[in-house]
Point group: C2
Chain length 326, copies 2
């Protein structure tokens, strides 16, 4: 059972209030903004805001605006990323630019980003500058990460370090920022707030490597998307980058052949990569890497001065998320 | 001579500092963000922030972050509007989505919006909530205005009231907000700040009607774009809406014929509309309407408790802008 289910219930209520507040005209702008939330999601980021706030004994109600801001920002980034990636589906449902069109997706994304900033109006005045500056820095980094991701698509080779840098910006810093902002709301000192930020960032990197793993080794039903989707579209994931690095000349040549082929059997391509990944123990290596980032996160959490039971709960919850199969 | 040239010089410096601060990596993200400012612009909005701040004897340095935020926001909206309008040119130069591509334009616009919000980190704490809430409300309204503009394209008829409502949101409220925020920074009371907001909004509506007029009756060299561009692409401007309203059945039929025609001589089409506009005295009617909004603005300014010389300067400057030919 999720030890934080009460926060999740609370957040669902608050999110619902927010969605009611944007049930207005022009409907052609606000309807897509509500639609993206109807697709669901695990709402991990707002949960992290509440958890960090509680670690430092903050009042729950103070954390809600930031929990909302973080989840709204995340959904804004999904809308715009889906346009850029030309993704037809998000969580098995039609994306906004597909259901409406690109213009609607651009503009409803923009308006959603503005509503994320509107949450800051409800924040206590003495905290607003520090919260806004964490949020702004993170938002800019997420844009940088998305840009690097697009730049990497056009490049032939990417190193593991470059890849980790990109996913850190694109996805991990927002987890760190959610925790740090929760800590700031509850008056944590800077050292503790920063340690928690690094905890979240390291967990975030581990999550992304797990996402890459699930694409290839997850079960189709549980994962909810096509197994091997990343392989089929030549996505430069941790697995592919590491395999290219470790492969023998002949395995490397085989991967390149598949990558360059315009027409192929998807099943055969996934199979071929899976065989090479198995031979090179890529799954085990990725799991070791995840473990390494998880250990880093553990050490960061050790540095946080807070109730040990609360810290343990957060750690076990993070471990549980890391074992998720979707 | 522009009585505010010293503010303009100051703002150019501050804008330059800002541009240097975003001269960073990934260049593929930050270069387009700097490019949009290199296209120029009259920087009216930041000027309004400084002017309002001075009306209430505020310190100039306090107004700079908001002057920057407003101009950055305006440029963000130009980048995304140009994608949505598929505009190849902006101020005679290639637009970002044309020079790079749509994805670059979406993402560099997003990142630019974030940097607008970064300016608020430099604002005095006791003012930040009111400034942020004016800015957020306005930003949401600008998105609503752009959405209405796109919705109107698909509709057969639009009333003058609907058109004025759309341009109010799309362009006028940002002028009002620039003035109101300048007033708030300088500790103006709510009544004065609101009166100044309405002044800016009314001036903004007059400016937009003037823009519509210049498209048809401006001189090509001074205006810097094709005369009659709005006519050629059937844009529902104040002129077209009013002409459709006032036209005889036969003139209405002629306009409809031109609008529905897929292949036509641009010169002949512009000529035909110009003839109908002249017959219906559309230019005079538009000028009267501009004058009406300018009178409203004057009355708003009367309500503002501030130095009468400073108010007079602002009024004459607004009149001068209204007589611009580009």
């Amino acid at each position: 059972m999720n030890p934080y289910f009460a926060y999740q219930t609370l957040f669902d209520e608050k999110l619902n209030d927010f969605l009611l507040s944007i049930d207005k005209n022009p409907a052609s702008l606000y309807q897509p903004m509500r639609y993206i939330f109807s697709l669901g999601g695990k709402r991990i980021r707002p949960l992290l805001v509440y958890i960090a706030n509680d670690l430092f004994n903050g009042k729950t109600e103070n954390a809600t605006p930031i929990a909302l801001a973080v989840e709204i920002f995340h959904n804004f980034s999904l809308i715009h990323d889906d346009i850029m990636d030309k993704a037809p589906l998000r969580r098995g449902k039609t994306t906004i630019h597909e259901k409406w069109n690109n213009n609607v997706a651009i503009l409803s994304g923009d308006a959603l980003l503005v509503t994320a900033y509107q949450q800051f109006e409800k924040v206590k005045t003495e905290k607003i500058i520090s919260l806004l500056s964490i949020f702004n820095k993170t938002a800019a980094e997420v844009c940088e990460g998305q840009q690097l991701d697009m730049d990497f698509e056009k490049r032939k080779t990417i190193s593991i370090d470059e890849y980790v840098y990109m996913i850190t910006l694109k996805t991990a810093v927002l987890l760190g920022a959610a925790l740090k902002m929760g800590a700031v709301i509850a008056n944590a000192n800077e050292k503790d707030a920063d340690a928690l930020y690094h905890f979240g960032k390291n967990i975030g990197i581990a999550f992304q490597i797990q996402d890459d793993l699930l694409d290839v080794f997850g079960s189709a039903e549980k994962f909810g998307k096509q197994v091997g989707g990343d392989i089929i579209c030549n996505k430069k994931t941790w697995l592919l980058i590491r395999a290219m690095q470790d492969a023998s000349p002949s395995d490397k040549a085989e991967m390149k052949k598949w990558i360059e082929q315009k027409e192929f059997s998807a099943k055969d391509k996934v199979e071929a990569f899976k065989n090479i990944y198995e031979k090179l123990k890529i799954k085990e290596k990725a799991e070791m890497e995840m473990k390494r980032y998880f250990e880093n996160a553990k050490n960061d959490l050790l540095m946080v001065n807070a109730d040990s039971i609360k810290k343990k709960t957060l750690l076990v919850f993070s471990e549980y998320l890391m074992k998720r199969e979707n």
